[in-house]
């Protein structure tokens, strides 16, 4: 090839100028001369405003697809203050229809402090009658509108409420932390609603509208629909959940049913609880105070911290056996009490005594003197070690936002927190699950599932799967092992033998009514001077266990922990009958 001639280079420079001019001028002609009027109009009405389109929140369902939480249409009363003709007359009428003081309505308007022509929400969840009345008079009520939104509806009210939780208005922190939220958004506050907020809430849509100088929408320029949230399936079986709620009844207490093979929680009751729907429609201060006084918002199964009483004894036994303090065949003569330090520690059967007891009999009879003796020989550090090995004093990592860890005391802990030395009497108390020891019911259920499964504990959880509205699975649960505890299975067999022997006692025999063998442990934990909590934890069948059940009654009015046996029997029967359906 050759070079450009000087002549063509000069031509090229002219051509570039001409091209630039032609392209730019023709585009400017098009924009300014041809389309000028339209753009002038656009700029006059400018401007573009952005509106968020709030997505529909996902549903919550039980493991069989029964809807627990859904969204229902709801009617809200809104006011555009600039459109109101005769404020006094209209508000007077309104106050008579919606049963709100006129002054209250005015206060809301005043407090709203929104830009001009904004819709101010006066009342959520109008009744149908109210909607009809307002619509009939719409000609006399310019500026007053009824808007349709969706509202969270908790199908089963109090049932499973501490697990499911509820939604409420976003806080300032939510707004700062997460750009998803707007001022009038609701967000998960407790339970599953909070834990899986991001899966449930969906994705916001955007709408770009052109509004005139006064802020009214003239044209939708661009609209991207919102993407609804995912439906969340829980491990809960609502049928079993209802049965457990019935078993607890009006008493204060906890019931848990969990599958020891994968950590799936089939039912969890914490009573008293609350009706989440109250938060949607608005709750009176009085009712709220009452619920607070009852600790209704505490999920006792994971936040309540209780002395485990005799249900702790298997840990004392396991530590003594595994540390070879005693053997499975060791027999200890149990008096009706023993003296530790200068204090007499009585057996629960006092003034009777159990006499010769081997470990299996001691678990079955729950002999306190046996465990005082063994515990004192084993020592606090070793008992604490095994308690922690089984997960006491630590979270279970269940998928709920707030969980307490309980407390496994040691000599060092007492020195640091109470400022006293650890006394043998403290060891004696610890050996029978009293004293400083505190556990959550779910920890105990997991500990017993560890015994049932010969040392394997699975992380307890409620989440089964998240399914998008198109039906594809977004996220699915896979069982995860929480701990593998290395304990000789013969030692655990000794514990199970004791638990089975307990379940075989005449007043406990009803436990086997479901049609198989059961391992069970009762507990009566003293709280205060005169009151007790009653525990009963059971798993069945002994080999290849399918279910761990736990019952706990706070300040119980049952005559003894053995009186819980018919209730636990119900739990097991319901589980096995639901399963076989």
């Amino acid at each position: 090839m050759k070079k450009l001639s000087e002549e063509s280079k000069e031509k090229l420079l002219y051509i570039i100028i001409i091209m630039l001019t032609v392209i730019l001028l023709s585009r400017l002609l098009y924009l300014q001369v041809l389309k000028g009027d339209s753009y002038l109009a656009q700029s006059k009405y400018n401007s573009i405003r952005i509106a968020d389109l709030q997505p529909v929140r996902g549903k919550i369902l039980d493991r069989n697809g029964v809807v627990l939480v859904e969204n229902l249409p709801s009617y809200d009363l809104e006011i555009v203050i600039e459109d109101i003709k005769d404020k006094d007359k209209e508000l007077t009428f309104l106050s008579s229809v919606i049963e709100m003081e006129k002054q209250d309505i005015e206060n809301i308007i005043e407090k709203a402090n929104l830009p001009v022509y904004a819709h101010i929400k006066i009342k959520r969840g109008l009744t149908e009658k109210e909607v009809i009345q307002i619509k009939e008079h719409s000609f006399e009520l310019p500026g007053i509108t009824v808007s349709t939104t969706s509202e969270r509806y908790y199908q089963f009210e109090n049932i499973a409420a501490p697990i499911i939780g509820f939604i409420g208005p976003v806080t300032k922190e939510d707004l700062e932390k997460d750009s998803f939220y707007n001022l009038d958004y609701l967000t998960g506050k407790q339970g599953i609603e909070a834990q899986y907020e991001k899966l449930l809430r969906g994705e916001k849509g955007k709408e770009v509208v052109q509004v005139d100088a006064s802020g009214r929408i003239r044209d939708v320029l661009y609209s991207m629909p919102s993407k609804p949230g995912n439906d969340i399936y829980l491990t809960i079986d609502i049928r079993l959940q209802k049965e457990l709620e019935a078993i607890i009844g009006d008493r204060k207490g906890v019931a848990v049913a969990i599958d020891p093979n994968n950590g799936e929680i089939l039912a969890m009751v914490s009573h008293p609880s609350f009706d989440p729907n109250l938060f949607v429609s608005g709750i009176s201060q009085e009712a709220l105070d009452k619920l607070y006084a009852e600790n209704a918002f505490i999920n006792r199964a994971i936040q309540g911290q209780y002395p485990p009483g005799s249900t702790f004894k298997p840990i004392t036994l396991i530590s003594a056996l595994n540390e070879k303090i005693i053997a499975a065949k060791t027999v200890i003569y149990c008096e009706n009490s023993i003296i530790v330090g200068n204090r007499r520690f009585k057996d629960w059967i006092y003034p009777s005594a159990f006499g010769y007891q081997n470990p299996v009999q001691a678990i079955a009879n729950s002999s306190d003197v046996f465990f005082y003796t063994v515990g004192l020989k084993t020592g606090v550090e070793k008992i604490a070690k095994y308690a922690k090995l089984f997960g006491l004093g630590d979270k279970t990592w269940v998928d709920l936002p707030t969980e307490n860890t309980g407390l496994v005391p040691t000599a060092q802990w007492k020195q640091e927190n109470i400022g006293e030395n650890w006394y043998p009497g403290d060891t004696a108390n610890l050996s029978i699950g009293q004293g400083y020891l505190l556990v959550t019911p779910l920890q105990m259920a997991i500990m017993y599932s560890g015994i049932a499964k010969n040392g394997t504990e699975y992380t307890p959880h409620f989440f089964l799967k998240a399914v998008s509205q198109e039906g594809s699975i977004i996220e699915e649960f896979t069982a995860s092992i929480l701990r593998k505890i290395d304990i000789n299975s013969e030692i655990l067999d000794t514990v199970k033998n004791g638990m089975e022997a307990l379940a075989d006692k005449p007043d406990m025999k009803i436990l086997s009514a479901y049609g198989g063998d059961v391992c069970a442990k009762t507990g009566t934990a003293e709280v205060g001077e005169t009151e007790v909590n009653h525990w009963l934890i059971a798993f069945a069948p002994r080999e290849e266990p399918e279910i761990v059940g736990l019952l706990l009654f706070e300040r119980s009015d049952f005559p003894s922990s053995h009186s819980l046996a018919p209730l636990m029997s119900d739990l097991l029967k319901k589980y096995f009958s639901i399963k076989s359906k």
Binding site: I17, L20, L28, L29, N46, S47
Partner: protein, 352 residues
Amino acid sequence: MRKIPIFLLLILISLSFISIFALHFTSTNTLLAKKQLLYILVGFIILYIMLLFDFRSLKYFMWTIYFTGIAALIAVVLVGKSAYGAQRWISLKIFTIQPSEFEKIILILCLSYILSRDQSDIKKFILSTAAFLPPALFILRQPDLGTTIVIFIIYFALLLFSLDLKYFFSIAVFSLISIPFFFELLKPYQRERIFTFLNPQMDPLGSGYNVIQSIIAIGSGKISGNWFGSTQTSLHFVPVQYADFIFSAIGEMGGFVGASVLLLLYIVLFLFMIKVYKSVDNLFGKYIVVGIFIMFITQIFINIGMCIGIAPVTGIPLPFISFGGSSTLVNFIAIGLVMNIYVYREDINISI
């Protein structure tokens, strides 16, 4: 000193007047227009200084100039200041400078020098490419896609004007092939801007927002503009209008007439450059003029094109109009060089 063309000074003064005027209306901050006035005054002083020496003497400082430019670009990497997601500035206490702006003129000088030497085409090609690549990569890395495009087009044009056409075509073919790879190297926001350019409605609130608002502003100017009732501009619907989107203010306030006047001023400037190109015998001088011609015309086309929605959004200032110290000074240096070449156009045989 020989006679300088007075009409050229008048054009520069008119452009400066438009700049100050537009800045006054676009920015709520009155300091901006005052600062720009200061930059322009310094620019005119530079213009005067640029006439005090023969451009041929620059050849002796070529490597110093080149490596000063490289050093400044390295300094940006080491101690540079970031803004809008890019690191382009060096802060010198009272003011900040943008070395990539100066690099444009430095490259024009160096490439013109290399390409005008008495060597074989292949040597000139290799040398000029070697000189072009380091600053180009530094600027791309900042990232400053706009300036990278401008200096690439300068390099490309100078090859066309100085060497055998096969070099021009080989670079053209090579560039076309490497576009997909180059696209991979871009930052996500740069890619997004290109997509937005292809379809501004795709993201009317993100990077498409500026373009949509700018088009509304320009369109609403109609034929004669709205000097007083300019809603878009006076209500600040176009973000950072004082910098890269200043043309939208001129389009709205001045209308088609005002925009055409601005284009006319530029055209006169370009016609003058062609006149200088024709009248100078010296190749070094010719190439400098071509480089500066291409630099201005590329910037004007990309900047105005962006404002009217026919070019992607890249941060390229509109010569003599957009707010900015470094760019204003570089524009005056460039036009000063053209004037210098015009004044010293006759070769007086200095041995090289």
